[in-house]
Amino acid sequence: MGLKGYILKRTMYSVVLVFCVLTVNFIIFNLMPGDPIAQYILSPESRLTPEDVETLRKIYGIDLPYHERYFVYLRNMLTFNLGKTQVTRVPVVEEISKRLGNTVLLMTTAIVTSITLGTLIGTFAAYKRATKTDTAIVTSSLILGSLPVFWIGILMLFIFAVYLKWFPFGGSVPKWWAYTPPTSPLEIIAGRLYCVTLPALTLVIFSVDNWTLLTRACVLQTITEDYVVTARAKGLPERRVLLKHVLKPASLPLVTAMALSFAGIFTGAMITETVFSYEGMGHWIYMAIMEKNLPVMYAVFYISGLLVVIANFIVDLVYGMIDPRIKVGR
């Protein structure tokens, strides 16, 4: 089986996974207590008659039996016909297009920084194994790793926004853009970075310990391999030995962890965005859960599930690129 077959197989897996995500979402939201229509009845200004409620149920399709609702739901999700938000009546797709970019910017910045830093620090710790440097790195990673993300966020706000006044308190774009919109692309990038730095830093602190410790463990396992001794005996400089002959074979578990951690960082992003009132998917879903905004919840859970599946798919492909043994096997 060549690369083509491998990709085909992984694609099939991904499709099956998306179906599982959709199904589980459907079950969870239908198990949630409370009728979706109840909100309209409960609001103080509502003057709904039972007939009105029946009409509403028809509009939303809640009168259909579960299996029919499931297929309608599947069709709508797969065609990205996501409906309108429950309170503000804005198309969900429109809201998502506004926020998804912000979340992707935040997560990409955080993940790339965190992985780069963690890999380098972890490799360095493994190289300095059993020394004070190593102990210091491991200890501080463990401490960082046990901090709750909302607390890191508040701490960052306190230090960099309140005390040093380097970065804004929140928002995804600078406040002054409302009066003087940015003109040059450079200005846009600078303004974006200005706002994304603190939330991203929070996420980096929250996730970097993972990479450091995992890299250290993987590198320690590889660094005593015979081919590493051979690479050193070949007269390669130490940095080249570490980065080329140790890190690449050691990176396989890291790549797996990357895919798995994507979901975890997404959760972290959700909390971080809330702390920083950063207009992204995470903040939005937090609000949606608070107001029990079903269309939004369906959409966000679906899209975040989709993102995780896509990340896994990409990682599976990268796996095949890093380790030549994977392409031919199976």
């Binding site: 015979d226 005996a233 690449k248 030549p324």
Partner: protein
Amino acid sequence: MPTLLDVKNLKTYYTTLRGYVKAVDGVSFAIEKGEAMGLVGESGCGKTTVILSILKILPPEGRILDGNVFFKGVDLVKLSEKEMRDKIRWKGISLVFQGAMNALNPVYKVGDQIAEAIRTHEPNVSKKEALERGRKLFELVGLDPDRINSYPHEFSGGMKQRAVIAMALACNPDLLIADEPATALDVIIQAQVLQLIKQLRKTLHLSMILITHDLSIVAESCDKLAVMYAGKIVEYGDLATIFKEPLHPYTQALIKAFPDVRAERSPLVSIPGSPPDLLFPPSGCRFNPRCPYSMDICSKKEPVPIEVKSKMHQVACHLIGKR
């Protein structure tokens, strides 16, 4: 012309939480150009540490405390890391490390790994030229040159071993160190690989250190023998002389532990006990707790190597000192 490699009183210890592991404790030997020496001993007696010390690629907890390693008259112990990299490693001394299975990095093509060795030492060779040289080396060791772009997992054990030998020859070294070159291979492949090493040695006039725990391999391919026990060389000298008349009880026991195909079948004699803990080696002669001829003095005083008869045979044993 100076001796090619002259190791004098080499001491390498590993620092552990429980103290120093005296892995190599005063080892001396010399190799002339074109000569092959077998370094024999049980697992964990410090054989590999000797070669890691010579190349100065010890793990961070290992340190050379004392001694000299003269290579073509230059003391390697005093050389800087950069000088070791540029002049000695692979160009002067190359290494076939512990069998075939793991000496090639699984995620790079074999040819690229050979080219890497060449281009590290000859930076103005293009990648294409380096690969071309790799193909020639493949031919030299009896591999199909068209397999140069394969990954290590696409090779059999014997082929991997041949590829590793090809890589070791890439920069025309003066000295080839082969650490357990035939372990983890079946007997027939083992014989082929040893045959190859022998033949290469002849055509390329290579000097060699062959590290093994298998005396029969040494008997077939070396001129000299050094028997190591618990971080020390207990017997050292001309191969034929030692085989004819082993003087140290450990060497005698080692030879007895191997079957002789021509002799009548007799039960093999194993050496009682197990190798000592190098954190706390026995006092006096380190072999004394397992030695059938142990005397009072053996646990009190450390025997010094004594030259017997000819210059080419040294033994560190009180039994011999008495004579």
